[in-house]
Subunit: 181 residues, 2 copies
DNA sequence: TGAGGGAACTTTCCACTGGCAAGATAAGTT
DNA sequence: AACTTATCTTGCCAGTGGAAAGTTCCCTCA
């Protein structure tokens, strides 16, 4: 029918990008349609079965990619605690589809080994910026404040200027949490 | 066919309860099925049209109920800032379906007047416990840390004892955020 | 009392969804 | 060249949300 080649070549990568686009365009992961993603990627809806198994499988891959991207972003932010938090928020605002899926484990296979590994890598990157003396509560407080800000930002609950940078908005807020050195 | 009366009587209330149950039982709002809720409530799937209009309409009602419950919980917690935060987390853990829907505005009609009113009532209850000197950043920090803890708790990202109380777990974490009086 | 009118609910239909099974096509491998 | 495996399509199924039309009930008002 079409002159498009039978074998796509790099469906996996394209499918993940198309999935993120569809989620961002169409109102969250709940409204995601496999067939819509397939249309964007230019393949039939059944093409994903071989690569991802099922819809939860597709979202598992997206969440894994998200944890990898988050770990990279945190590592690139350096040692400063506040700047790492800013990077966390910036990641959420810059990759809303990944972020939303990551923290709704009901959507994917939360016990997938590859996913767990990426998750732990991100958790280590997050803990790395905290002072050695930080106990579990301090770690949770730091994680909570950046995660909460990110979640509120994404849900539109914050009265923000359109076009404002989420990271810049988060910096003074995050700075208010001072942990004992 | 059945001896069940044609008119349900209080479908609206029962439907909301059944919706919350279905969301909590079936893995999040994304997997929610109107027909499943209808089966739980003992009516046909089209019965909701009259009361809620559509699926987003049903979830609008659930979110509104959620904001009302949250405002009540915050008001009942008194003036202490930490205890209000504990109440926030406890609400999220106690009403996960409401909470998850509330902060995914893509699922419902976020501009519904009744919803907006309930939203503002909850926002006022939250601001009421903060010191008068608190500026916007302090307000956001307080909201972020409790909201973040609640979100992480619900997503299962926290290494918690099964059966542990979310509020008790949150108290020492929330206490770490000290705002200038 | 009983007749109209609207509220509450059901039945039926439609386009769409995710998943499965079977087949087609391409790319290696020997 | 023959065989095997990976990749993708077509065709099908039960289940979904929504619209349209019909049914049952309640409530008001003469």
């Amino acid at each position: 029918m079409t002159d498009r080649p039978y074998h796509h070549g790099n469906l996996r990568r394209v499918a993940l990008a198309a999935t993120a686009e569809a989620i961002e365009a169409g109102g969250g992961p709940a409204a995601l349609s496999l067939r819509e993603v397939a249309r964007r990627a230019g393949v039939s809806h059944a093409a994903f079965k071989h690569h991802f198994g099922s819809k939860p499988g597709l979202l598992t891959a997206l969440a894994t990619e998200g944890y990898d991207l988050l770990a990279d972003a945190l590592a690139a932010a350096g040692d400063d605690r506040v700047e790492a938090g800013v990077a966390y928020v910036r990641f959420a605002a810059g990759h809303p589809a990944h972020f939303e899926v990551m923290f709704q484990p009901g959507l994917y296979h939360a016990d997938d080994p590859g996913l767990r590994a990426a998750e732990e890598r991100a958790a280590r990157a997050l803990t790395a910026v905290l002072p050695d003396s930080a106990d579990q509560d301090a770690r949770l407080a730091a994680w909570s404040i950046v995660h909460g800000f990110a979640g509120l930002w994404l849900s539109g609950a914050l009265p923000a200027d359109p076009g404002a940078d989420a990271g810049d908005a988060a910096r003074p807020v995050i700075s208010l949490l001072t942990l004992a050195p």
